[in-house]
């Protein structure tokens, strides 16, 4: 039963990872920009929520409405004011800028908030659960996170497939110059894409902060998990991102169970090993187009 429970928890955890991965995937899909600060931005979102709560005395749910628009704006400005200048043939400048930014954010958070673990409280929701059988219960909060992830991914898919702006996004990611010939302002679109990426990662960060504790140094782990979810699922596939997140989540929870029972491996490590296996045997990912 422990194992069944582990798998279920893994699927739910996968929802959170899919949320993280969405922004990374979007930025890469539209702009070909790999944002190494992605994880640190999530933590930034969590800290902004934390400060919002202590400044405005609101609930965690209210912070979504404060933090997400702020992060969207930061993303737009960061793209047009900084990242835009690094886009080109050479991947080095964009890697350096985002990596440097991540380090700066991490250490700035450390200076401002100190290394103490923080948490965001969702009250009783954190522990409420549904009793499925005598041995298995599912937490409400993780289910909500998974549902939000599915809704967000679904919404994004609908947006891309059926709206004129979504069409423009697809065109720009296919062929930027020809998109300009259609009258599409690619710089504006890049800004929007990055804004959306920052906004979704903020959502992920707030959920992370409510689900467990957080500290400035946690950013890099989230980046690695998001990246693994994207690769496992397959580059360029939004639903692949969800699947990748779930596979990673399950690998981690099962790995933790193995650690508990047998005393070795551990969740994070097993997740990494699964990632490496996918990389070795199916580099295009589970749902990615076979190249």
């Amino acid at each position: 039963m422990d194992w069944v429970n582990a798998v279920i928890q893994g699927i739910l955890l996968g929802g959170l990872y899919a949320l993280f991965a969405t922004g990374l995937s979007l930025a890469f899909g539209v702009l070909r920009f790999v944002n190494l600060a992605h994880g640190d931005l999530a933590i930034l979102g969590a800290y902004l929520a934390f400060s919002s709560i202590s400044t405005f005395d609101v609930s965690v749910w209210a912070t979504f409405f404060i933090v997400v628009p702020i992060m969207f704006a930061i993303g737009y400005v960061a793209q047009r004011g900084l990242f835009d200048f690094t886009l080109g043939e050479d991947p080095l400048p964009s890697i350096l800028v985002s990596f440097g930014l991540g380090v700066v954010i991490q250490n700035a958070l450390l200076v401002h908030y100190s290394a103490t673990d923080r948490g965001l409280s969702v009250g009783s929701l954190a522990t409420e659960s549904i009793r499925v059988t005598n041995d298995i219960s599912i937490g409400w909060f993780p289910v909500i996170i998974l549902l939000v992830a599915v809704a967000l991914l679904g919404g994004m898919q609908l947006f891309l497939s059926f709206t004129p702006l979504g069409r423009a996004f697809r065109a720009v990611s296919d062929d930027r110059d020809t998109a300009r010939l259609m009258g599409i302002n690619h710089r504006n679109l890049y800004g929007l894409a990055m804004g959306i990426a920052f906004a979704t990662v903020a959502v992920a960060g707030i959920f992370l902060g409510s689900r467990t504790t957080f500290a400035p140094a946690q950013g890099p782990s989230q980046l690695l998990f998001a990246f693994e979810a994207v690769v496992i699922g397959g580059l360029g596939s939004l639903w692949g991102t969800l699947l990748g997140g779930i596979v990673l989540g399950v690998a981690q929870t099962v790995g933790n169970q193995v650690d508990v029972d047998y005393g070795w491996v551990g969740g994070v490590l097993l997740g990494h090993l699964v990632f490496l296996a996918v990389l070795a045997f199916r580099p295009s990912g589970l749902l990615g187009a076979k190249s």
Partner: protein
Amino acid sequence: MTATAGPSTEESGGRFRISRSSPDATAGTWVAVAVVALLAILPFVGGDSTQRTLIGILTYLSLAQMWNLLAGFAGLITIGQQAFVGVGAYTLLVAAERNGVDPFLSIVAAGVVCAVLSAPVALFAFRLRGGYFAIGTWVIAEVFRLIALEIGPLEAGNVQSLTRRNALSGYDIDQLRDLIYWSSLALAAGATLVVVLVLRSRLGLALRAVRDDEAGAKGLGIDVTRTRLIVWMLASGWMGMTGALVHLNSQSINAPDAFSVLLWTALVIFIVVIGGVGSTTGPIIGVIVFWVVSDKLTDWFDLDDPWRFIILGILAALFAVFAPRGIYGWLQSWRPLQFFPVRRRLVGPGLEE
């Protein structure tokens, strides 16, 4: 230091040749030799604290030259080199502390171990490109760290020391310090020398071709994977040696620090970016800037560690966007001087010598 190209120059009467040096490059090399010589005699003229500072600077220079070789010349932008620093550290622990091998020999062993381990790493990492390659190397470094923690006998979860009884036996304190100093000088100068030699060689030419245009290079018959793999293994091994030396110096090994991405990768990258990626002189300039910010600025303004990262991180990000060739690039646009003979020029009658 010129080299004649093959038979074709014979056919044209040997009047055209490829030259890899220029007057300023030759002068630069002599200056470098002089500096190394001066640094080498430092232990004999005293200056203990200078020696200690220099060990720090030189080890970072060694790491910087290797990262530059990988990212600046081979197009392998890695943020996972902390893996090899960590493996180097633990090789030192196992060999010197647990098995009584001479610590300096252990450093060499660390280099070999890392070079060998880097091959399977490449197997996975080389399947990725650009930014995803970078993150992939980071993931792999994390795998190394976690596996190290899993290996019971390593006791990587605890802080461990190199003791006088085991690792450091046979050396007295001053002897040890001096030898560590000379080793760091050897690694730094050696790293620079290795990079210069690689660039002057056909391997270096192949590297640059691959970096500029991979498909084109393949078309010319260059084995892209093999070229990259050689450089990858060389650099990884060298970083392993440097990692081992750093820990011989600190005499203390713990997993979070040994495998730290901030200490061994972020700082190194910032150093190279500020100094100048893709040039052999860049890392040297970068290391000096690093030292100024690290030691001086944080002392004067009484700032602590995170500030070092914030300042250097902002500088590096700005350089990456607005001055991609770093300080060296600025200097070059002033006066195109070359400090090391790594460029190739065609010389001959009618062409400027």
